[in-house]
Amino acid sequence: MNLLDFARGAAMKWSLAVFVFGIFWRLTGILLLHRTHDYSVPRAHGALLGALRTIIARSWPRREFRARTAYGLAVSYAFHIGLAIVVFGFVPHILLIRSLTGLGWNGLPDGVIYFCAVVTLIALIMALIRRVTHPVLKLLSNFDDYFSWVVTAAPVVTGLLTVAHYGARYETLLALHILSFEVLLVWFPFGKLMHGLLLPVARGQTGAFYARRGVNP
């Protein structure tokens, strides 16, 4: 079994297993903790609507916060959108998703994908520079922040190297690309990457809290 076979076979299987089991473990470990009933009379009903509203509306800051958060937010949006386009728009990725789930769609031209990948990488580097230079981010950052950055950036870097056939044999580069993605899958449930799944839960809680109190955030 060569490296590519391993990456496509056992490694993919096990990383997906860890990904799914890890997410299940973490989510149940959080959501099955005790809850208290709120006996206060709500000012308004519609907690579900409030939750949905905050889940969507919190995607951009309120007017009074925009000036102070614009740079960080722009960088963050750039690599999130870039990653989404690359992951879900590149034809080979779509073929992989189809083989795993049966779902498929039309891809974007390769040139667009390459451009997005480069922008994504630049944005990721800008985010990292900001993290190591901004006094607040420096103080808050820990191993999780840096390791999550590495496992996010690695598939982008190896992906670009693979399509450029640069640095090693194509098969080796492809194997490294797949393996780097698998490292991301394995790490996902254990670190901050889980925010992708926790985001609607946390925002929803606060949205429901605001709705109950009649606060219009």
Binding site: T28, I30, S59, T69, H134, R203, Q205
Partner: protein, 451 residues
Amino acid sequence: MSTDIDAVHPLDTSGARLSIKKPVQRFDRQGDLSDRERTEAAMRAFMHEFGAVTATYLESCIHCGMCAEACQYYVQTGDPRYTPVHKLEPFKQAYKREAGPFALFYRMFNLKPRVSADELQNWQELLYDSCTMCGRCTLICPMGIDIARLVGQARHGMFQAGLVPHELWAVAERAEREGSPLGATPAVFKDRIAWLSDEHGVEIPVDRDQADVLVSMSSIEIMKYPQAIVATAKVLNALNEKWTIRLDGYEATNFGMLSGNVQWQKDLSMKLINAAVKCGAKLLILPECGHAYGAMRWDGANVYGKPLPFEVLHISEYLARSIAGGRLRVKKAAASVTFHDPCQISRRGGATQAPRDVLAALGVELREMVPSRMGSWCCGGGGGVVTIHRADDLRYRVFEIKMKQVDDTGAEMLVMSCSNCRQTFDDGQAHFKWDKTAHSLLELVADNLVQ
């Protein structure tokens, strides 16, 4: 610490803000617990807080640092320690190590060390002096984490560890012992009512057996702004309400909540609840006090363990309702007004429109601060911060934001509906020799009633 608590912590009720006198020697560690006992006590309290909602928040932080940009302490100082989520570090650390889904691994490999008493002591300033729990950070967090709620929960552990700032502990202890944090005991309150009733020729019913409306007061009003008692009486009398004040339950402030003592919070809330139940009140009116609104309107029923058998309204909501229903008529007041939103009533409480409806009825030109309503800046005195002498310099720095906001409106009159904000403004006014004086919305209404 001396057992003569009142001698060690004498009250200062003559200054621009009310607290205990500036301590010559600080006691920011209460009791004689060993360091180990302190951390164990904090951990027990923390563990109680680690439910699903709290856990979701603690798991969700992406360390983006955006909360700092909403925090008045960071914005004014640029000190990263004041980043709101950083103030929760020991609380988060305890959660990850003791209660999170991977707690076993954190403990087994010591990935998160045990929280130490020194660490908690170091965080005291961050959890108390530099956080009013105003909730602006909650408003900005892209993950929607309610950081203000988490700070309140972290304070529960701090109190059990005996690590509360000297002054806040002292006023909370006095509230538990005497029923009021600032010496507004039943005897003092009764005297004041008699004096105010005579002086202003207004009837103030006390200890009625049966009443539709129970009125509560803030000890800040009783001791510093007694005119609020008269104003309340004038309004309720004008409305022909069957109302009362009861000496067995009148104090609406809740320093149990602010200091982090859950039992004291309950004791203080239950006094009011029991008094309302005893007189068969259908409505409990809360005074112009921000945290009192949170403590009773939103936490009261949970302390009681079931829905409250009466309605709870902030006085501004009551005024707005009475005006809207045509029962209360007011005449035109000052020409232009700016309104300061008390955080716990507006951003955290949802009663944002009521004071504006009242001001509209008063026919004033409302000049909103920028930002106002949900995004309003805190006065800097909430969360018990105004009582803490060592926090004064920092508090004055953040108050500069508020002064600029008010000045920029060019309004003739500054109005608010929280006596704690008001005393923070009074103190800031005295410190900066500022030309703006804070006024009470309630008193503005009472002065402009159409009989």
